[in-house]
Amino acid sequence: MSDIAALPDLLERCREICAQHGNRPDALIEILHAVQAECGFLNDDALKGIAHVLNISRAEIYGVVTFYHDFRREPPPAHIMKLCRAEACHAVGSEELAQHAEARLLGHPSIGLESVYCLGNCALGPAALVDGELKARLTPAAFDALVEALEAKA
């Protein structure tokens, strides 16, 4: 309890978000998405706060958070490029593109590269989701242009 009291703002925000979802434990995934959207990731304090408000155990929340690929336990990079690595994109060169992307973004200070399995843009692959924006027909050159655009933003 004392840990939560040390973070009045976070706890208060968790409380508000949970209330927006009717304080229903079944809305846990929606709540986790909402907290992560604000805080960037789900640290121990956020999990404690949500557990406290919903009156469910931290172990239960930990189990849920670690099951789903979307939830982050560490601060995210400033920009996230999610590259589709599923079959329809394989068919148009996503694996070669992924090799290029990994080399290009290795150790990059502000852009994180992640794999995703299908973005529903399967007729226009290789596809990627760049900070939430869907991209199509990516080539290594087009990928580099996206990277440069993100670097210019940061």
Binding site: A88, A91, C118
Partner: protein, 503 residues
């Protein structure tokens, strides 16, 4: 003079090739020229190689231009495109474009035509008629209509929808639910996404009809988080629907967490309950004990989207499309290395060759077609020499393949089928929920053994091991994830033995 209606799709695929930039350029240019336009952001017509496909409403009908880049907009106005003027990007009347004219659009009749979030537009184009018919009927009559239509689950399993609804209807419970499965995780599929972004009320109407039929006043739409555009559109649509007070049925949206397994209905139910998305053992089936232990109908988006049309036009109208025990139409999705990729709604019985060659136009790369994968990551690889198969649940099963959610992914001759087989195991290892051993451990071992095969390490005995492992996964897995992962693996091995070092 009223403003001319110009349509620029808001569909995520269209956005991915610049539709927003095109829409902005059109608005800017029209303002600069003092031309009054009414810019509508519609869904996609499904001809994705033509996106962004801009349409202009004229007295003769809607005229299409595409694919349009923002840089083309000035020359389009110069050519008077807002009055239907001729331009190098002219495609003529949209409805007459052969790829669209040859389709049989029932579930996707409105998609790309209407403003997705205009309930008035929806109603003008035939929406709500099904719900009104249903509400005037007894629940049993609605169930009978669905049974008579021959509609089967479009998520992949092909279970008769009428039987599922009847089972849920017969349960005595103070609360029942209707859940729409919009966790469209199969690579090569995007029909659910297109429908939710282009005609979201069709899904809600289908759910409301299902609710009336089984006695449920509450529904959930579970949408994958990889579809942020669809989530946003559906959230707006649900608000508009509720505000219009069309029936007592209430809908809640749940966004997934990036887990493929949540497309499996029982793990989806656990996920909606706020838990880890782990597969449940069956029985009991969800129609008897589903969400929160209550009778629940879980249907795919496309199943529910077909319902309104069936009620409005009668079961026979729908049943008259199709072949054998596969009635109605299927939204096929052409993907991968395809020249004319997109959505093709056709009656069952169309051949794979017609879809791949006539609609798809072969490969985008121009390289020879080598294989297609039908039915998503758990579907079979079919060699280019076997395209004369009719698309029908039973015919595909007899050929050792499956329809799944209707995805068809084209691969050219550069594909390494051993690597694709390895990927099937790898994907299963990443996405397994971990509840049953054959899937959780089998997938990891399968990937390791395929690595040895690919490295040329004692190939024959390792391939024997792969086959053995596939048998265990098929027979022993709790759900289709582990149970069907062998399908792409074994079909690749059977049809392309040379890629595995076999004669």
């Amino acid at each position: 003079m009223s403003a001319v209606r110009i349509f620029v799709p808001v569909d995520a695929a269209a956005q991915s090739v610049g539709a927003n930039e095109v829409a902005a350029a059109i608005a800017r240019e029209a303002a600069a020229r003092g031309i009054a336009i009414n810019l509508v952001r519609n869904g996609s017509r499904g001809m994705l190689w033509l996106e962004p496909l801009v349409e202009v409403e004229t007295a003769a009908g809607r005229i299409a231009y595409g694919p349009v880049a923002a840089d083309d907009v000035v020359s389009l106005f110069d050519a008077g495109f807002h009055l239907g003027g001729v331009h190098p990007l002219s495609l003529g009347l949209t409805e007459a474009i052969p790829s669209l004219a040859k389709q049989e659009r029932l579930s996707f009749a409105r998609c790309g035509v209407i403003d997705p979030l205009s309930l008035a537009d929806y109603e003008t184009h035939g929406g709500l008629a099904g719900l009104r018919c249903a509400l005037a009927m007894q629940p049993q009559e609605v169930v009978a209509q669905i049974t008579d239509s021959g509609l089967r689950g479009r998520g992949g399993a092909g279970f008769p929808t009428g039987i599922k609804w009847k089972t849920a209807f017969e349960q005595q419970a103070e609360q029942k639910y209707v859940c729409a499965n919009a966790d469209e995780g199969d690579s090569g599929t995007f029909a659910d996404r297109m429908l939710m972004e282009g005609d979201p009320f069709a899904l809600i109407e289908g759910m409301a009809i299902a609710g009336h039929a089984i006695g449920a006043d509450k529904g959930y739409i579970y949408i994958r988080s990889e579809y942020p555009h669809a989530v946003a559109t559906m959230r707006c649509a649900v608000e508009i629907w509720h505000a219009a007070a069309l029936s007592d049925f209430r809908v809640e949206i749940r966004m997934g967490g990036g887990a493929y397994i949540c497309g499996e209905e029982s793990s989806m139910l656990d996920s909606i309950e706020g838990k880890r998305g782990q597969v449940r053992a069956k029985p009991p089936i969800p129609a008897i004990s589903g969400l929160f232990g209550k009778p629940t109908v879980v249907n795919n988006v496309l199943t529910l989207a077909a319902v309104g049309d069936i009620l409005a036009k009668g079961a026979a109208h729908y049943r008259d499309f199709g072949m054998g025990r596969s009635r109605g139409t299927q939204a096929f999705q052409l993907a991968g290395d395809v020249a004319r990729g997109g959505l093709v709604e056709k009656a069952f019985g169309v051949t794979l060759r017609e879809l791949v060659e006539d609609f798809g136009g072969g490969t985008r790369s121009g390289r020879p077609l080598r294989a297609v994968q039908a039915g998503g990551p758990l579907g079979a690889y079919i060699p280019a020499s076997r395209l004369d198969i009719e698309m029908d649940y039973e015919a595909l099963a007899a050929a050792g393949a499956m329809l799944g959610h209707g995805g068809i992914v084209l691969f050219n001759d550069s594909v390494d089928m051993a690597k694709q087989a390895r990927f099937a195991f790898e994907f299963c290892a990443i996405e397994s929920c971990g509840k049953c051993t054959p899937c959780r451990i089998g997938a990891v071992r399968g990937k390791e053994v395929m690595d040895k095969v690919i490295a040329g390490d004692d190939r024959e005995s390792n391939l024997a091991l792969v086959e053995d492992l596939c048998e265990i996964m098929t027979d022993g897995s709790l759900c289709a994830m582990g149970g069907l992962t062998p399908m792409p693996v074994l079909s690749a091995l059977r049809h392309f033995p040379e890629d595995f070092g076999r004669e």
